[in-house]
């Protein structure tokens, strides 16, 4: 069910401001692709354009193509709601729904879309998703408790469980560990490794060691200058990226000599 994504000549605008320019890449199915780069270079914007989440901000628009298994996401008559059902997303800060219990949070994607299901089916989805997010053993005795009562790392894994409960084809992660401590981070990195066998995962991170640890391929975004649009500098296998990058500025950024 995992799908690959082909991006060609993608420009992203906020109103008149061009935020990202000329991105070309192919994200392989059942692999982890990481984006690194300085703040404000457009990597999160680019990530959000992959499931049309950037459209939530008024005035945001896109030129170019994002093709998922032959289907252009930005073609006419494509419903962004359908796109988001197939391409899930996990955010920087854990955001469980405060009015819902752990159980309801996991089922939110199904329930909010008014999918009717039997109790046993719902229980199966909750157990499978929470096991998939490595959270089951910690919360199985308190599924009725509020989701907000968990620790930050547990909340983030709850959000991942919520995202995979609707069985998306692609999972986008926008700095999923930046608000977490090292132990929770390592739990989520292990989880990313496991999820790779079933999902296509795209992750934005500020932590280059994390990109090196979890990803198969890495893209480096950069700004030409302040006020200029961000662009993709280099896209290569992670091994090559961190050992012997093609581009000098990539090497400068990765080795910490970035100016």
């Amino acid at each position: 069910m995992a799908k690959s994504i082909d991006v060609s000549d993608l420009d992203i605008y906020y109103g008149d401001f061009k935020a990202v320019e000329g991105v070309n890449m192919t994200i392989r199915a059942k692999s982890v692709t990481a984006f690194i780069g300085p703040s404000g270079c457009g990597k999160s914007t680019f990530l959000r354009s992959l499931n049309r989440m950037h459209e939530v901000i008024p005035g945001a628009r896109v030129e170019g193509k994002v093709v998922v298994e032959g289907q252009d996401l930005y073609a006419d008559h494509v419903d962004p709601v359908e796109v988001r059902r197939q391409i899930g997303m996990v955010f920087q800060r854990p955001n469980p729904f405060p009015t819902m219990s752990i159980y309801e949070n996991v089922l939110a994607g199904n329930r909010l879309n008014a999918r009717k299901m039997k109790k046993s089916e719902a229980d199966d989805i909750v157990e499978r998703s929470l096991k998939g997010a490595n959270l089951w053993t910690e919360v199985k005795d308190r599924l009725g408790r509020p989701g907000m009562g968990l620790s930050g790392g547990q909340q983030q894994r709850l959000c991942i469980a919520r995202a995979i409960a609707v069985q998306p084809q692609v999972l986008l992660m926008d700095e999923p560990c930046s608000a977490l401590d090292p132990i929770s981070t390592s739990a989520i990195e292990d989880l990313i490794h496991e999820l790779k066998s079933e999902y296509t995962i795209v992750i934005v991170t500020h932590n280059m060691q994390q990109a090196a640890r979890v990803s198969d391929e890495t893209g480096f975004f950069n700004l030409k200058a302040a006020g200029q649009p961000g662009h993709l500098v280099e896209f290569n296998s992670t091994q090559k990226m961190f050992a012997n990058p093609d581009n000098d500025s990539t090497e400068a950024y990765i080795s910490g000599r970035f100016g």
């Binding site: 499931n51 989440m53 939530v56 008024p58 709601v81 359908e82 796109v83 988001r84 059902r85 197939q86 899930g88 997303m89 955010f91 800060r93 955001n95 469980p96 729904f97 405060p98 009015t99 939110a108 994607g109 329930r111 909010l112 879309n113 008014a114 408790r145 509020p146 907000m148 009562g149 959000c159 919520r162 995202a163 609707v166």
Partner: protein, 358 residues
């Protein structure tokens, strides 16, 4: 090296002690008693009023305690004592109207309360007896209809302003108009409702639903504002989380945003109901007054508590004391209803607030 180090350091550190002389803890009480005694002198000798005595006591206290304090404790403590004295006096001043009002209403109203007072209307009553049953029923029906009209309109308008219209010109215009509406005098709302109903039913029309329309004109802006404020407090992250699950916008609003803001919205609505339950002027115009019980908001006059109080006091009949007694009793009941609604609002907000479980 050591010598220069010592040269650089400031040599004249004042030998600041950590303890300072302090006034004893009973000092304020002593000053208050002395101030009261001094202020009592002109009352005894010159025949000043008690109000003048209280004012003089406060003035003496506010001057004397800081002066004593500054001579013993130093200027910082003295300023603290002065500020505390002023804050306490302001608090006392603010409590005076509240306490006297409550005292007046309770002392005049409680003797009137009886089983008959709550279960009888004023039909065929002259002089003693009778009750406010018809007015309580009228107030409940009129405010209930006002809530039925204004809650959906107000909440939906608030949802539009925050979720759909945010930043657009029409939303800014509507927000401005809602602010203007908040300031509409209640008599104008009553005249509006009257004019509206005259269009359909001819001059001289009186019915409860007209009062409800007038009250909802006053209530809608309050509900819109409180809904707006509560929706603004819902973090965008929750909306994004919902969108990212492929949930359409309207479901995101009804299933995620509104439940999260529910406590605040319900509290705002309850407070708005409490606010309009005591309105008199619009109901005087359009709902009118009657001595009988009327359960039908769509026909005939309907008595309400504020209007009942007004007529009972202004036209108490002969002899006047029974009508005036009933006015005080009804006023007490009205205050009790409004207070009960406020307590209910607090209870609701606690009940609906999302629990963190920590």
């Amino acid at each position: 090296m050591a010598a220069t180090d010592q040269d650089v350091r400031p040599v004249t550190i004042p030998d600041a002690p950590l303890t300072r002389p302090q006034l004893p803890s009973w000092a304020p009480v002593l000053v208050a008693v002395v101030a009261l005694a001094v202020a009592a002198l002109p009352v005894v000798l010159l025949g000043w009023s008690l109000v003048a005595m209280v004012v003089l006591t406060v003035v003496i206290f506010v001057v004397a305690l800081p002066v004593w304090s500054s001579s013993v404790e130093g200027p910082r403590k003295a300023k603290d004592r002065l500020a505390s004295a002023l804050v306490w006096s302001a608090f006392g001043l603010a409590m005076i109207p509240l306490v006297t009002l409550m005292w007046q209403v309770i002392s005049n109203g409680v003797p009137v309360l009886s089983a008959e007072f709550f279960t009888y209307s004023m039909r065929n009553i002259v002089g003693e007896g009778g009750g406010i049953y018809h007015a309580i029923i009228g107030t409940v029906i009129v405010t209930a209809w006002a809530a039925i009209i204004s809650v959906p309109i107000g909440v939906m308008a608030g949802v539009y302003l925050i979720e759909y219209g945010a930043g657009s010109r029409i939303a800014r215009v509507v927000t401005f108009l809602v602010d203007v509406m908040t300031g509409i005098p209640s008599i104008v709302a009553g005249l509006f409702a009257y004019a509206l109903f005259v269009l359909f039913f001819g001059p001289g029309v009186r019915m409860g639903i007209g009062g409800a329309v007038a009250l909802s004109v006053l209530m809608i802006p309050i509900v819109v504002r409180s809904t707006e404020e509560m929706l603004k407090l819902v973090p965008d992250e929750l909306r994004e989380a919902s969108y990212a699950l492929g949930v359409p916008k309207w479901r995101t609003i009804t299933k995620v945003v509104l439940p999260t803001a529910m406590a605040g919205i319900v509290t705002g609505v309850t407070l708005a109901v409490a606010r309009v339950a005591g309105e008199t002027a619009p109901l005087l115009i359009i709902a009118g007054d009657t001595d009988s019980v009327n359960f039908n908001a769509f026909a005939e006059r309907m008595a309400t508590l504020p209007v009942f109080i007004y007529y009972s006091y202004m036209q108490p009949g002969i002899p006047p004391e029974f009508g005036q007694e009933r006015a005080w009793g009804a006023a007490l009941v009205l205050i009790a209803i409004v207070m009960a609604l406020n307590i209910l609002a607090r209870f609701i907000s606690r009940r609906f607030t999302p629990k963190t479980g920590r």
